[in-house]
């Protein structure tokens, strides 16, 4: 990279770290709020503390890891359909 070029906000690794720590804090606060705010819930499962957080986290990890496995089956070279 050109040394004269302007340094942008995420060129500094510290700023990235701050962002990630901010995310951790927000997540912790949101679970904490579960003990304060009553969520109306229809199902017993939904009434668990932090249910939505846990579900979101598990869902995304599952999604990505499953898709990674799926890629092994469905991925072909880019010209796959162009070859006759």
């Amino acid at each position: 990279m050109n040394s004269k070029e302007k340094r942008y906000i995420f060129d500094n690794p510290r700023n990235v770290k701050v962002l990630i720590y901010a995310l951790y804090v927000v997540c912790a606060v949101l679970v904490g709020l579960d003990f304060v705010i009553h969520r109306h819930s229809e199902y017993a499962l939904e009434a668990w503390y932090g249910f939505y957080g846990i579900y979101g986290f598990v869902a995304c990890v599952f999604l990505v890891l499953a898709a990674k496995e799926m890629r092994k089956i469905v991925r072909r070279r880019e010209t796959y359909y162009d070859d006759k």
Binding site: M1, Y8, F10, D11, I20, L23, Y24, V26, C27, L30, V31, L33, D34, I37, H38, R39, H40, S41, E42, Y43, G50, F51, Y52, G53, I54, Y55, G56, F57, V58, A59, C60, V61, L63, V64, L65, A66, A67, K68, M70, R71, V74, R75, R76, R77, E78, Y80, Y81, D82
Partner: protein, 564 residues
Amino acid sequence: MTSSLAPFLIFYVGAGLAAITRGRLRQVLLMAIPLVGGINLFYLGRGDLVAFGLFDYDLILLRVDKLSFLFSIVFHIAAFLGIVFALHVKDTTQHVSGILYAGSSIGAVFAGDLITLFIFWEMTAITSVFLILARKSSRSQATAMRYLIIQVMSGVILLAGVLVRYQQTGSVEFTFIGLDGPGGALILLAFGIKAAFPLLHSWLTDAYPEATPTGTIFLSAFTTKLAVYALARGFPGTEILIYVGATMTAFPIFYAVIENDLRKVLSYSLINQVGFMVTGIGIGTTLALNGAVSHAFAHIIYKALLFMSMGAVLFRTGKINGTDLGGLYKSMPLTSIFCIVGAASISAFPLFSGFVAKSMVLAAAVEEGHPIVWMVLLFASAGVFHHSGIKIPFFAFFAHDSGIRCKEAPFNMLAAMAVAAFLCIAIGVYPAPLYSLLPFEVNFDPYTAGHVLAQAQLLFFSALAFTYLKLSGLYPPEMVGVNVDAEWSYRRLLPRAVSAFIATFGPIDHAVRHLAMRGTQRVIVWIFRHHGPEGVLAATMPSGAMVLGVVSVLAIFLLLYFVS
């Protein structure tokens, strides 16, 4: 004063004028079309405004009720956004086909009978294909033909269904259809093709990423949402749609995670979003239907915004693959911000438009006792944030710096994105105007503390999962390649099957024809031998031979006469 001018006419006439004007004049004219259309909508009366009889059919060209009115408004907004975004384009074909396509879609939502619907249904196919052809690459030409065949097929199936239904019921009016007879099933199939039902969806992920940067904005808005409108009118409460819709929300997100072409990622997430609407229509309660159509309204705008941000990237860098992009927030800061607004809206962040619309469908699933469907929708909600909310902005504008330094998007593109972003936030913050347009009265408040908290938890922990996977190196890297999907059946399996068929039966066919040819040849030779120039039967007979013949016949006659 009320108007009864069919709104599609403004677009059709406008397209004609756009074709014969150039430069600034055309730009002004193009922007005026949806604005004049909007004024006309404002004064439009209610009920069956234009109806006439043709042969035995009662056709209703213009039926205005709450459902058609809501879709026509958002189609006007989408047309306006698409036009402003494409204002710098000099290509007459793209402008004219974009306007005709928007006009045809608007014509279709006002169609009060199924014959009129069929005509506009086919018009949307024919007018939109030019937005793909205009890319002018050999790949886009092939894609466009596949797109056209499938779209026209949907129309043909629709017409077959309409005629079968007419035989049964004696009516072509477009009201509730349901799945009682074969006609209804055919019509549902036709709607299902345009709505991109699972296994019928490949035309969408095939065509949308191949259209021009500006053409995809039009494509993303109209065809699938026209199908959602048609399903909402014809098939509310049809139970199978609940499961079809839930499948649509879930399966495309797996493809979206591993897809490299960012416009194709958006195409997969489009199917995911339409899935929520289809589920809502299947549930069919007033809350669910309100949710489905308000989601369609919000979705058209934020999806257009996301496609616009990626279109701007493609326009400026000539690249759209995740592997080639990254760090563009440095060159295109405004586009980045608009993209993030679109991403927040599709992810249904509180204060953004997706939140006030989609929640109704989830609430209806709970209310009507579909826990499994609710779990799937929740999974899909987390998943859509993961690939559309994070992946799209992250890989295009952040991630590793690709080193690309380009100009910010042109002014007209930024203006279109700004309007769309404003609408996304405005609807999210103040949903009352949208709610007042919905077909049923709204008794739903998205902004309860518990609901906001639940959604925030779901989304922030999805972001946490992304961060965890990224930092631990488990996240699959972007890779060059194509991921085969249902289109494999007709792009690979069918041609292969045809070649295999020819390879197997070709020789047999050849042998049979050879045999037949030899037989025919022999017959010809045999006939030639007797009747040819040298043949005994072809020889000229002397007149004496004829006399002999006549005398013989006479003799036999006399003999018979004598005997009797």
